[in-house]
């Protein structure tokens, strides 16, 4: 080989030296023991370190979020089918006529109820074709329209110390069709993102019941499980509220 040229990238001969055979044996024994002890120590400390370490990603996800970074938008030709992912049964549409959205935790101190007409007439409607990503790994590109969550926050400001919103749907059902209210935690910073909508339309039509008629959350910077269908109540709070899937072992920030 051309070791003589000694270019920067050329492999050097390995440093060699003579040792007493006993030294080699002792070093081998020592290192095997050290590596073994390291493995045992790592296993022993796992129990105390793991519960914290396993949550690192929530903090990383939060640090990655930027209110100025927009999610990609697509053209109508790129739209893909979006399955009805109601975990259990799709609710009976009989709730829709009497539906209203209740706002709690407002700076005014009073609770506000809005029907779908007052929402769509009061705020301007924005359209977007964005990807909805499920925690399971599948995703779909869909065409949405609705009011900006930020506009609602502007019109009905939350209490000053509010960092979180509890987004709730009381019409959700479990697999056997029994009432199973669905609730997630949503940081107000994400709610203020310009692409976070309170969607009223899907593919140019009013939201169908399987996609959360008459109003659903569409936060494309979050996993699909935060995109609550058929929202019935928004509550602004200072501390992170309960989250349906976090209580079932999933992460709770879920920023993507």
């Amino acid at each position: 080989m051309n070791n003589n040229t000694r270019g920067f990238f050329v492999e050097r001969p390995l440093p060699r030296f003579e040792v007493d055979p006993k030294v080699l044996c002792r070093r081998t024994r020592r290192d095997v023991l050290v590596f073994g002890a390291g493995a045992v120590a790592a296993l022993a400390s796992a129990r105390s370190v793991l519960p914290h370490a396993i949550r690192i990603d929530d903090e990383v996800a939060e640090a990655l979020y930027s209110p100025h970074r927009a999610v990609p938008t697509y053209t109508k030709s790129q739209i893909t089918p979006l399955r009805n992912n109601y975990n259990g049964a799709t609710p009976d549409p009989s709730y829709i006529p009497g539906w209203h959205l209740t706002l709690d935790g407002l700076a005014s101190g009073v609770s506000v109820a809005l029907d779908i007409r007052s929402l769509t007439t009061r705020f301007s409607i924005h359209e977007q074709i964005t990807r909805l990503v499920c925690v399971e790994g599948w995703s779909a590109i869909a065409w949405w329209a609705g009011v900006r969550f930020d506009d609602l926050l502007g019109a009905y400001p939350p209490v000053s110390q509010a960092k979180w919103a509890r987004v709730e749907s009381s019409v959700n059902l479990d697999i056997s069709g029994n009432p199973d209210p669905y609730y997630v935690s949503l940081d107000v910073a994400t709610a203020r993102h310009p692409q976070t909508l309170l969607a009223t339309h899907f593919n140019g039509q009013p939201l169908p019941v399987e996609h959360g008629a008459p109003l659903r959350l569409l936060a494309p910077v979050k996993l699909g499980l935060k995109n609550v269908k058929a929202i019935t109540r928004l509550t602004y709070v200072a501390e992170e509220p309960r989250d349906y899937w976090a209580e079932r072992g999933y992460s709770h920030y879920d920023g993507i």
């Binding site: 080989m1 070791n3 003589n4 990238f9 050329v10 492999e11 050097r12 001969p13 390995l14 440093p15 060699r16 030296f17 003579e18 040792v19 007493d20 055979p21 006993k22 080699l24 044996c25 070093r27 081998t28 290192d31 095997v32 590596f35 390291g38 493995a39 790592a42 793991l50 370490a53 396993i54 690192i56 990603d57 996800a61 990655l64 979020y65 930027s66 970074r69 999610v71 990609p72 990807r131 990503v133 499920c134 925690v135 399971e136 790994g137 599948w138 995703s139 494309p220 910077v221 899937w245 079932r248 072992g249 999933y250 992460s251 920023g255 993507i256």
Partner: protein, 278 residues
């Protein structure tokens, strides 16, 4: 790889030769390389087991629902086939879950699997950085760089490995190709590719995990769905590396194994030691 027998490490042999000058050793691996190498064992195991559990939730390879079972998952088909054809598995309780029960945390473990996968992924990235630091600090990176002669030498090594079992059976001499580099061409290609595979795994992992924040990165791999396919097959590169890697280390013997623990290899001849490089 040289062919000299490693000096015996047993105390008996040293005590019978009290005046022997000593064992010639070479320093092969920096300690950061050795530590990160071994840490990869639990980390990669955790990543693969949890990764396959995550795969279960939304398999990449799906077909139209089976008319009888409604199954769409190719991995479930493989489990069904194995349980139907492998003796002793005919009464397996849930054949579609066989693959997931053997090679993952199990079906329906998405929440735990995601948490474990992310934890291992952060550990894997830190460990990869440690490995690179060790390669730089110990100068070992030079030994991994591809050479112009690699293709020809890789074929020589492949010929050796393929002919080896037959030569053993027929008791023919079967000479190991001679190289005076740290690694032979096949090893070098493998050890050069694995860090790249690790890097690509990490990048595609980020793309899948944060497809909105890293959407421009996703475009490099052909988008979110394509990145999932990349990530899946990058796992297979690791598996296809690890299996022969472990077999060959055992076949090669104690000195190679010890080299990754102590950093020293005693497999060096006196002739080489005089400093006359060939």
């Amino acid at each position: 790889m040289s062919h000299s027998t490693p000096p015996d490490c047993e105390p008996n042999s040293t005590s019978t030769l009290p005046e022997q000058p000593g064992v010639l050793v070479v320093r092969k691996h920096h300690f950061l390389v050795r530590w990160s190498h071994w840490l990869n064992v639990p980390i990669l195991l955790g990543l693969i087991l949890s990764g396959i559990s995550i795969y279960w939730a939304s398999p990449i390879y799906q077909h139209k629902p089976d008319p009888n079972t409604g199954n769409v998952d190719v991995a479930a088909d493989i489990g069904i086939w194995i349980c139907a054809h492998v003796p002793g598995l005919h009464h397996y309780s849930s054949p579609p879950d066989w693959v997931y029960n053997q090679f993952s945390l199990g079906p329906g473990m998405l929440a735990v699997a995601l948490r474990l996968h992310w934890l291992c992924a952060y550990a894997f990235m830190l460990n990869g950085a440690t490995y690179i630091a060790g390669l730089i600090a110990g100068g070992g990176w030079r030994g991994l760089l591809p050479r112009r002669t690699d293709l020809r030498d890789a074929f020589r090594m492949l010929r050796y490995y393929i002919g080896f079992p037959l030569a053993k059976l027929t008791r023919h001499r079967w000479q190991h190709p001679c190289f005076n580099t740290k690694y032979n061409a096949l090893q070098r290609t493998a050890y050069f590719s694995v860090p790249i595979t690790g890097f690509l795994s990490a990048v595609t992992g980020w793309v899948i995990h944060k497809p909105m924040q890293f959407h421009s990165l996703a475009a490099i791999f052909g988008g979110f769905d394509a990145a999932r396919v990349w990530h899946f097959w990058l796992m297979w590169v690791f598996i296809l590396f690890v299996v022969p890697h472990v077999i060959l280390v055992f076949a090669d013997g104690w000195d190679t194994f010890r080299g990754m623990i102590t950093g020293w290899s005693a497999r060096v001849t006196r002739a080489e030691a005089t400093g006359n490089e060939q």
